[in-house]
C-alpha cells in the first residue's frame, strides 16, 4: 500500500530546490535587495514585543523586584530557591501531566474520532459537534464544571437518577486535579479532531480505494495510509499542544480558586507557580522568582518543540 504513495523530497520550507544559476539572476538579486526593507519593520516589531521582553525576563530572573521601585541583584538565588521548593517540584509534575498525560489522551481521542468519523454519514455535523466545546471560553466552562460537580450538582443528581449513589467526591482536593485533566481533555480533543480530519480530507480517495481492495481494516487504513500522510500535521499539532499546554492557566485558576485567592498548591503548574509568586494576594510581589519560572517554561517549550519535531521528523510525503 505504501508503494501507492508518491514520495518526493522538498526543502524544509516546502519549496523546490533552486539551482545556483537562478540564485544569481538579476531578478533574484533585486528580490534579495528588497528583502531587507520588507523584513526590517516586522523584525523591529518582533524585537520590541517579543525579544526585548524575553531578555528583560531573563534579567529580571536574576534580581529581586516587587514590581516597581529598585531591583536587588540576586544572581542565581531565584533559581536555586525555586529548585529547592517542593511546590515547584509539584508544579513540575503537574505540568508534565498536563503536557504529556492530557496530550496523549487528546491525541488518542482525536485519532480515534478521526477513524470513526472518516466514513460516517453526517460527518460535517459530527465535526461541528466535537468542535463545539472549543468555541466556549475555557473560563465559562471551568465555572460551569464547578457547578456540575458540586455535591448537589447535575452530575451527582444524574448519577443518583440512574441508581449510582457511590461516586467520587469530584471537587475534593485529592480529586480536583484529575477532574481538571479530564476537563482539559474534553475541551481540547475537538480542536485536534477537526484539524486531523481536515488533514485526512486532503488524502486522495483512490488510496483508500486501493487499501479497501487489498482488504485493509479501518485501523490498517489509518496505520498505513492516513497516519503517514498526516504526519506533518501531527507534528505541527504536537508543537502547538506543547506550547499551549505549558501555558495552561485560566482553567486551573477559575476552576479551583476563589475570587482573588490562590488555588491549593497540589494543582499548581508552572504558570500558576509564576502567577502566585508575582500576584500573591496577601503578599509582596516577587517578580524575580516569577521570571525565573518563566525562563524555565521558555527553555522547556524550546526543548519540547525540538523533541516533538525530532520524533516526528521526516521529509513531507506528497501525493
Amino acid at each position: 500500500m505504501a508503494s501507492a504513495i508518491v514520495v518526493g523530497s522538498t526543502t524544509e520550507d516546502g519549496r523546490r530546490p533552486v539551482g545556483p544559476g537562478r540564485r544569481h539572476s538579476p531578478f533574484h538579486r533585486a528580490r534579495r535587495r528588497m528583502f531587507v526593507p520588507f523584513v526590517y519593520p516586522a523584525l523591529a516589531v518582533y524585537m520590541l514585543i517579543m525579544v526585548a521582553p524575553t531578555l528583560f525576563t531573563l534579567w529580571l530572573s536574576l534580581n529581586r523586584w516587587a514590581g516597581a521601585g529598585p531591583m536587588q541583584w540576586a544572581g542565581l538565588h531565584n533559581y536555586t530557591a525555586m529548585f529547592r521548593d517542593p511546590v515547584f517540584r509539584t508544579s513540575f509534575v503537574n505540568t508534565f501531566w498536563i503536557v504529556v498525560g492530557v496530550g496523549a489522551a487528546v491525541f488518542a481521542i482525536a485519532f480515534g474520532m478521526t477513524i470513526l468519523l472518516q466514513d460516517m454519514a453526517g460527518r460535517r455535523f459530527a465535526r461541528a459537534v466535537v468542535f463545539f466545546p472549543s468555541l466556549v471560553p475555557g473560563i465559562a466552562i471551568s465555572i460551569m464544571w464547578g457547578y456540575l460537580f458540586n455535591p448537589d450538582g447535575l452530575v451527582n443528581t444524574l448519577l443518583a437518577d440512574v441508581g449510582v449513589h457511590s461516586h467520587p467526591e469530584w471537587l475534593a482536593q485529592d480529586n480536583m486535579f484529575k477532574v481538571i485533566l479530564i476537563g482539559m481533555t474534553w475541551l481540547s480533543s475537538g480542536v485536534y479532531t477537526v484539524i486531523f480530519m481536515a488533514a485526512v480530507d486532503r488524502i486522495p480517495p483512490e488510496l483508500y480505494q486501493a487499501a479497501e481492495i487489498e482488504g485493509a481494516s479501518a485501523f490498517q487504513r489509518f496505520r498505513y495510509v492516513t497516519f503517514p500522510l498526516m504526519k506533518d500535521v501531527v507534528s505541527v499539532c504536537s508543537v502547538l499542544w506543547c506550547v499551549g499546554a505549558l501555558k495552561t492557566f485560566e482553567f486551573l485558576l477559575v476552576f479551583s480558586a476563589e475570587s482573588g485567592a490562590l488555588p491549593p498548591t497540589n494543582i499548581w503548574n508552572f504558570a500558576m507557580y509564576s502567577y502566585a509568586e508575582a500576584f500573591n494576594p496577601d503578599g509582596t510581589a516577587d517578580y524575580g522568582i516569577a521570571a525565573a519560572c518563566g525562563v524555565i517554561v521558555l527553555l522547556l517549550t524550546g526543548l519540547l518543540m525540538v523533541l516533538a519535531r525530532r520524533v516526528l521528523r521526516r521529509d513531507a510525503d506528497t501525493y
Binding site: 528588497m34 520588507f38 520590541l48 514590581g67 516597581a68 521601585g69 496577601d282 503578599g283 509582596t284
Partner: protein, 447 residues
C-alpha cells in the same frame, strides 16, 4: 500579480509599526499629573476597587459628586474592581502615574504598593479636621484602625506612618445564624466554645450538620485554627511559629490543643455534607436556605447571600467564641479606604477627600447604603453585624498582622496542611508534626 503583493505587505507592515509606535509612545493625557496641569484648578483622579453598579460604587460616586460641588475640585473616578492594585503596580514604573488616589483595602496597599515605594505617608492627613465633627481624622479613625492602616515590617511590627485613611471595615471570624431559629442567642451569645459545642451538639441530635463551611476557600478554613490558637496562646502565636526557622515552636503546648479543636469539628460531623468537595459559595448558600445553622464567615456575608437566601432570613452574628478557660480571640479586621500616591501632584486635595468621607452623614451611609461597617466610632453598623461593630468600637481588634513576607509560606505550607486538618485527612498530631517539619524544610529552601 505576485509582484504587486510586496508593496502592499510593506504598507501593512509599516502601518503596523506606526500603529504600535503611536500606541506604545502614546499621549499620557489620562495621567494624574497631566490631568491637573492645564485645568487651572485641582483635578483628582481616583482608581477604585468598586465596579459600576456595586453598592460601594454608588456610595462613592454620590460622595464624589458632593465633594466636587462643595470644593470645586474636579474628580475623575475609574472603577477598576478587585484588580485595582494589580493594575496600578506596573504603572508605578511610569514617570506619569495615572492616578492620585487608590481606593482599596489597606492590606493590599501595604503588601503590594507600599513595598514598591509608591505610597505617601499620611501622618499629616490624620491631623486634619473632619468637617462637622470637631474631631481630627486620627480621632475619628481611632488607634486600632490607624494601626491597621500602617505598614508592617518583616516581623509584623508597624513601621512608619499610616498609608491609608480608612472609611469602612470588614471582619472575619464572625459566626452568623438565622435569628428566627435562635432568638435567644441575640442577647446571650455562647461565652466560649464549650457552650457553642453544646448548641452544635443539640443541632446534631436533630440529625443536622450545623456548621456550613465553604472548604474551597482556604482562608475561610484557616479562620478556625487561627482563632483557636489566638484564643489559647494570643494573636501573635501563629507568626511566632511560622517565622521559627527550626519549626520547633509548633511543638510547644497550645498549638496542638488548637489543632485538636479543629480535629473535633472535622471528625465530629459538625460540618455540612460536601464541605470538603464543593465549590464556593455552595455551602454558604445552603446555610442561607436554612440547610445549616451557623456559618463562620466575614461581615460581608449578608449582602453576599442576600439574593439567594430564604425569604425573611434574619441575619444575626456573634464574634468567634473563646476557647474555654481563655480570652476570646480579638477580631480580625480589615480596613479599606483612601491611599495617596507619592507621585500625585494633588496630595492636598486627595487628603481632603479622605477626610470628607469620614463625616458622620457618609459614615451612616456606609452602613445603610453599602451594608458595611463604618469606621467612625459610635456610628451604627447594619443590624446583622452590629455585634461586630461593638467589638471593634471596644477595641477588641487584632492588630497583630501576618507580615507580607509570610504570604508565600502560608500559600505553600500552612493553608495546605490546615485544609487537610479541617477535612479530616490529618489528625491534630499529624498536623503539628507536618507543620514543624515542613516549616523547617521551607526555611531551609529559602537559604
Amino acid at each position: 500579480m505576485r509582484r504587486r503583493q510586496p508593496p502592499l505587505l510593506a504598507g501593512v507592515a509599516l502601518a503596523g509599526v506606526a500603529l504600535c509606535a503611536s500606541a506604545c509612545g502614546g499621549s499620557s493625557s489620562g495621567g494624574a499629573g497631566a490631568a491637573g496641569s492645564g485645568a487651572g484648578g485641582d483635578h483628582l483622579t481616583i482608581w477604585s476597587q468598586w465596579l459600576k453598579g456595586q453598592p460601594g460604587q454608588q456610595f462613592l460616586q454620590a460622595a464624589v459628586d458632593d465633594f466636587q460641588k462643595q470644593t470645586g475640585i474636579k474628580v475623575t473616578v475609574q472603577w477598576k474592581g478587585n484588580a485595582v492594585v494589580k493594575s496600578l503596580l506596573p504603572a508605578l514604573n511610569s514617570p506619569d502615574v495615572p492616578t492620585d488616589v487608590v481606593e482599596t483595602s489597606a492590606s493590599q496597599i501595604q503588601n503590594v504598593l507600599y513595598p514598591a515605594g509608591g505610597m505617601l505617608d499620611l501622618t499629616s492627613a490624620y491631623q486634619q479636621q473632619v468637617p462637622g465633627t470637631g474631631q481630627t481624622v486620627a480621632q475619628v479613625v481611632g488607634p486600632a484602625a490607624t494601626s491597621l492602616a500602617t505598614p508592617t515590617d518583616a516581623a509584623g511590627q508597624t513601621t512608619g506612618g499610616p498609608v491609608v485613611v480608612p472609611y469602612w471595615a470588614s471582619a472575619t471570624g464572625v459566626v452568623f445564624y438565622n435569628g428566627q431559629n435562635f432568638p435567644a442567642l441575640e442577647s446571650a451569645a455562647p461565652k466560649d466554645w464549650d457552650a457553642f459545642f453544646s448548641i452544635l451538639d443539640a443541632q446534631k441530635a436533630k440529625n443536622r450538620r450545623p456548621l456550613a463551611q465553604d472548604g474551597s476557600v482556604t482562608s475561610y478554613n484557616a479562620v478556625f485554627y487561627n482563632d483557636f490558637l489566638a484564643s489559647i496562646l494570643g494573636p501573635d502565636a501563629l507568626n511566632k511559629a511560622e517565622t521559627d526557622k527550626t519549626g520547633q515552636t509548633w511543638k510547644q503546648p497550645g498549638y496542638l490543643q488548637a489543632a485538636q479543636l479543629v480535629e473535633r469539628l472535622a471528625k465530629g460531623g459538625y460540618f455540612t455534607d460536601g464541605y470538603d468537595a464543593s465549590k464556593f459559595p455552595a455551602m454558604e448558600n445552603k446555610w442561607a436556605n436554612n440547610d445549616a445553622d451557623f456559618n463562620v464567615n466575614g461581615s460581608w456575608l449578608p449582602s453576599e447571600v442576600g439574593p439567594v437566601a430564604a425569604p425573611g432570613f434574619d441575619y444575626r452574628s456573634f464574634a468567634f467564641p473563646a476557647v474555654a478557660g481563655h480570652s476570646a480571640p480579638p477580631l480580625n479586621v480589615t480596613v479599606s479606604g483612601i491611599g495617596v500616591l507619592k507621585s500625585s501632584k494633588h496630595q492636598a486635595a486627595a487628603e481632603k477627600f479622605a477626610a470628607f468621607l469620614l463625616q458622620r452623614g457618609y459614615q451612616e451611609q456606609v452602613a445603610t447604603e453599602m451594608q458595611n461597617i463604618p469606621i467612625a466610632k459610635d456610628v451604627p453598623a447594619p443590624p446583622a453585624v452590629q455585634a461586630v461593630k461593638q467589638a471593634i468600637d471596644a477595641g477588641q481588634v487584632n492588630t497583630v498582622r501576618s507580615p507580607a513576607s509570610l504570604a508565600d509560606y502560608n500559600a505553600k505550607i500552612y493553608f495546605g496542611l490546615d485544609d487537610k486538618l479541617i477535612f479530616g485527612k490529618l489528625s491534630a498530631a499529624q498536623f503539628i508534626d507536618s507543620m514543624s517539619s515542613d516549616s523547617a524544610d521551607y526555611w531551609k529552601s529559602k537559604g
